[in-house]
Subunit: 468 residues, 2 copies
Amino acid sequence: MKTPLLRLLILLLVLPTSTGTAAPLRNVILIIGDGFDDQHVTMGRNYLAGMSGTLRVDQLAFRAAVQVETLSVDGLPVYVADSANTATALATGTLTSIGRIGTNINDQDAQTIAELAMAAGLRVGLVTTSSITDATPASFLSHVSARSCEGPDEILGSTYYGIPQPACPQDARDNGGPGSIIEQLITSGAHVLLGGGQKFLNQTTIEGKKVHAVAEAEGFQVISDASALAAVDPNTRLLGVFDEETLPVRWRGTDGRTAEAAETSWLNQISDYLGEAKEPMPIACEANPDYGNTPSVAAMTEAALRHLSKDNAQGFFLMVESASIDKQSHKRDPCGSIGEIAQLEEALALATTFSEAHPDTLIIVTADHAQAAQILPEPSLYDKYPIPIYSPGLTARVQTPEGGLMRVNYATSNGFSEEHTGANVPLFSNEAGRSVLRPFMRQRDVHQAMRSFLLNDQVLSPGHSTTD
Amino acid sequence: MKTPLLRLLILLLVLPTSTGTAAPLRNVILIIGDGFDDQHVTMGRNYLAGMSGTLRVDQLAFRAAVQVETLSVDGLPVYVADSANTATALATGTLTSIGRIGTNINDQDAQTIAELAMAAGLRVGLVTTSSITDATPASFLSHVSARSCEGPDEILGSTYYGIPQPACPQDARDNGGPGSIIEQLITSGAHVLLGGGQKFLNQTTIEGKKVHAVAEAEGFQVISDASALAAVDPNTRLLGVFDEETLPVRWRGTDGRTAEAAETSWLNQISDYLGEAKEPMPIACEANPDYGNTPSVAAMTEAALRHLSKDNAQGFFLMVESASIDKQSHKRDPCGSIGEIAQLEEALALATTFSEAHPDTLIIVTADHAQAAQILPEPSLYDKYPIPIYSPGLTARVQTPEGGLMRVNYATSNGFSEEHTGANVPLFSNEAGRSVLRPFMRQRDVHQAMRSFLLNDQVLSPGHSTTD
């Protein structure tokens, strides 16, 4: 970002129009399934509801597709995104390049829907299963040039398994900037921050204070134990971090197995059309022993809703992220992703119940970008041909509760982690969304729709974009 | 199918209710993009309209997702479909197994929307870029146990590159059945049949007659030259076949190049983490020299609309298929698929113009199943890591008109042809669809919706299925 003063000025600019008229109480609950594209939605449906069943997202009143837009650093179109630039588009309506948080390609800050909400007197909460400093939550309440600038220890440069990560010198408080993502989050005015990221709270600011101490000075009740969630005083601001970085996921494959390569015979290694190939043995989804007493997305969402709505006549903006649909797909673990989809569904159930009691609540569920996993035929469509047919990538054959065998394939990269993909993503909304959403939108239009709903400042005309 | 008598009885059963009341003139135009899933829709958008642009399908008033359902021969859930069982679900509302045409897993005939329409006095047309006997068009007007039973020469068994294909002895006229797909199509009562498949018209029936002679005896004007399309007498039934089987596609990659493997150095072949990998050189989309004077989907659709609507007070059902989105994805040719998407868009433009003059026209665009292609990051998300990162499958880097580079990956199979995939598919509709469609449907529900619209026989209550 350029200067904190600029940011303050932008915030002040929206105040007169937003507070000039007594706006009705309005809430927005934005649920982001990271990587929750149509392949992953269908994986979740097949496993959790059955091939002919429906997920909760399927039962929502409105459905749309959302085009994901990314720019190169030179402003050219790029067809596959990351979670930083997409969360920035959703949060701010501004297109940017991969890795950027709340800033455009010229490093200018873009005002977020959460900042707009706070400027209008609404409360803001962020809930995630990643670190609260990870790209998606970060983009709603901070502005840095690179997603790697999560804490004071990283902002001037860091390494990840020995690989140098981008620094954000212009954002560092050392240089008069607003500081790392965690520093910006805890001083943003947010009411609720829940997820992982203890590691960053234990870092030290340039004044020599622990970050968690700064958070407490900002009025946050800081907790790190899931059992404290239900008991916490709902009259304070709440910061909960329940693991060092990403929270453990609920499910894994049998004995921790993820997708595996087909076993090919020596003849097959001479020629693709000779010998034999054996697909991996099926797996089932089982409880992840590392999950322990990690709070569920639903438990965090429930606490957030309690804190955000308690004695609040002004409404709120809440972002809830199931981050590990994507993270587990990078790791080729379909059960990890499916367990995280189950968690998203539980959070949606809570949001739906809340919206029934508070009708002016807009619920939007969407993904930030598409991901690697694909459901493949089991057996192959070419099973009858007398040659070995298998995926060149890694495959998991998942036994479903209804007695099917779902073959999930990961084949976007030879490396340690799968790639994102470039399809438009689904968007699901309750009835409240009908007035501001359209069947096809770009991510920046979703920002505009949330803003229109929350602040009543602009109504979209269906079929036309106001953000070109 | 079981017996022609049974089929006749089913047709007679619907007549009294359908003709008992004077139904208003209603038309359904169902446009199927074979394999037109969200990855392919986005590929088409990025190339044809730009990353931030909109396709015609994006501009339609209503959008939904459709779950694809397939059964095993034993009736268990199967998570990836083929075009035969999905077209059967769309055409008849009946779930079935892979390869079946208009029949359920017990080999019973399922009445199609086209047959229902004809029984109610409406006209029927099928337009496709595949052979008119291919799985998708076949499922709307014929009933056999296997999609390979396309002509009299195949119904008792055939081979494909030496591989034996399923026969349909119980369907053969030799055994008292209704005959092969082409024989059933030309005796179905259809008004318009346009696509490929000359090969099957030149086969000989058990009476020793050429199939095209039988078609002429049924009242079809038979043409095989695109230039005849515009000049043909609109007062007759029309059968046009413009190639031996599938029609050539409009576009291909530079010099006919399709997706290719990364070139890896010898060190990389020793270890994935050593050496170098070079992605294929970019391609552009260029005219396919084999396309010649093949009629476009739009030209065939225009002829079909003219024939179906000429002096017709009863309405019609028209199915239009862009078949080669899927077929070119099997062959790893993104430009082939994109050219076919462009053709679908042109047909949609015609359908939209027609519906403006005939407001009781329901337009639905949907896919039958998802397909292999995925858009991958260009460059890789892991570009900065000092190891070679590439797809284990085959990749095409397509230069887009707006100056981007779209990397399209095919990595579902080591073999000669890519696999289908299992995501739910998009559905797009004009305003007329709003009364009968819901945001989430199964393919069999789409059949029910078209039936409700066309025959006014049943109205779906939103949110509830009538076909469980």
